[in-house]
Amino acid sequence: RAPRRAEPRGNPGSFDELHRLCKEVFPPQMEGVKLIVTKTLSSHFQVTHTVHMSTLGPSGYRFNATYVGDRQLGPTEVFPTLLGDMDSAGSLNAQALHLLGERLRAKAVFQTHQAKFVTWQFDGEYRGDDCTATLTLGNPDLLGGSVIVVAHFLQSVTARLVLGGELVYHRRPGEEGAILTLAGKYSAPNWVTTLNVGYGGAHASYYHRANEQVQVGVELEANTRLQETTFAFGYQLNLPRANVVFRGLLDSNWSVGGVLEKKLPPLPVTLALGAFLNHWRNRFHCGFSVTVG
């Protein structure tokens, strides 16, 4: 009897992307009118102008510039990547991603609210053949004696099962604490289920790809600190022949919503229409956006 050939265990990806497939099924919140114009100036450089006329908050303009280097490891992974995003109030969001070695990546994130620094964060990630380890320093302040340290580890136990955990340690003068969260992900050809369980609560998600047109996501979150639980059901309908993608949502807060995206070939234009209704609070908001480029 021939020995059963073990399937190769690939790299499990990063901890932040455990629930990504399920989250991408849900429609993004849309309100007001948004115009997004993207201009690719070269194979390395791209700028984006965003004008948002909001019904719920202040309206504004954002400018985004992105530079990508030559080293491409995947469809969305290009190194180095430099990204800068500034709004009309002067608030900045800047990120730099770089490949330090074959398996070592580094990331730096800075966020300001007008002239004041709100976030400064440094990540180091090691991607092995079947494991990923990440260390993050959040807002390190040597003079003030405060820091947030986050450590992630994921191990591909089999070709389908990934197990891992997250340790968050925070320190301020007079106070320090740590929270441990365990994570597991099981991937089948047509579905993926992920579970995070820790002292602060639990997060479970289930993603199902019914066929090329229909994808479904189910999510459950429980927060023991806020004593809240939520359930959400989302679905995505793809109709490439009609250039249409529709995403719908239903959740335990009595909210229903949907976003319809339609490409308008031969123009490089995408039109998106969205509406969300909260039956319990009797609130409704809708919006549309036009993306050029």
Binding site: W191, H208, V216, V218, L220, T229, F233, L239, S252
Partner: protein, 74 residues
Amino acid sequence: AAMAAAGAAAGGAAGAVAAPPRGIRAWLRSAFRFATDRNDFRRNLLVNLGLFAAGVWVARNLTDIDLMAPQPVP
């Protein structure tokens, strides 16, 4: 005295028969209060767990739909 004893025995038996229904009634009342208390964390967790299970069942069994299939001819 015999009738008093018989009455006491009947009262005791009636009490023994009435105690379980009162116990069940109290249990049902507290279960109804638990099921309808929107501020209870454990109740909300159980309800949302049930909804999650129902959502997974719907995703696995009711979503294999061909959106581009032609309409059935009557």
